[in-house]
Symmetry: C2
Subunit: 137 residues, 2 copies
């Protein structure tokens, strides 16, 4: 098989990390299919995730491994890892408790562009916990 | 409001493009909530998307605007655009016909890591169209 075809049609997992050594990972609620957040993994984070079945990311701002929920308690139990055609993006099907976003919402996607506007958003969710209480513990 | 708080809690849309001028965009089936694909937009692609309500991306490999479906016919009618907490990622809720992935599947995520493996994948979908027929027209 040609390389492209092997990557697209093959069943060998060869994740394509970008020039920073990262791959995009989308966390999707395994039950509701809601997209919860988008983060990044380096090779080590991916290995830890497949091994422990708890989502581990790489924080680009803090430049270190980020065990999701380590501080907040809002861990992600990984049920399944999906891979896209060119193997440069992952979808993690996860089981979660309430509140995956550090702002206080269930999902990081709690706003939408207002219909017809390209500047104004509207809230499409309500907060499910108080981040002040969670993050000052 | 401090800048971070404004970005996270505000209702003004100020998309954060990366150093290449791109923002990550996830296309999610508005009906089934299946994640269909992940692509990138520059400012122009985003403007065209909000204006025409058909998804327009920026192809990183071809270095040009990519009107989804232009060649294949598999367009994406955009119903809603969700924005994440730090405004560096979008979810497009889209209405689509059959076959969003150029390999022939409905979604680009047609494979999953086998349970317990970090090397071997399994197919989790069947092809819904023949890309050979679509792309040689």
């Amino acid at each position: 098989m040609a390389t492209d075809k092997k990557i697209e049609e093959g069943l060998e997992f060869v994740p394509k990390f970008d020039s920073n050594g990262l791959i995009t990972a989308i966390a999707q609620d395994a039950e509701t299919n809601q997209v919860l957040m988008v983060a990044y993994m380096n090779r080590e984070a991916l290995e830890l995730t497949t091994k422990t079945k708890n989502a581990v990311y790489f924080s680009r701002s803090r430049r270190k491994l980020w065990k999701k929920g380590e501080q907040s308690g809002h861990i992600q139990k990984v049920e399944q890892i999906l891979v896209d055609c060119d193997q440069d993006c992952l979808v993690l099907k996860v089981r979660v408790d309430q509140g995956q976003c550090h702002v206080g919402y269930q999902s990081c996607f709690y706003r939408a562009l207002k219909n017809g506007s390209d500047k104004e958003m509207e809230l499409i969710a309500e907060k499910v916990y108080d981040p002040k209480e969670t993050y000052t513990k």
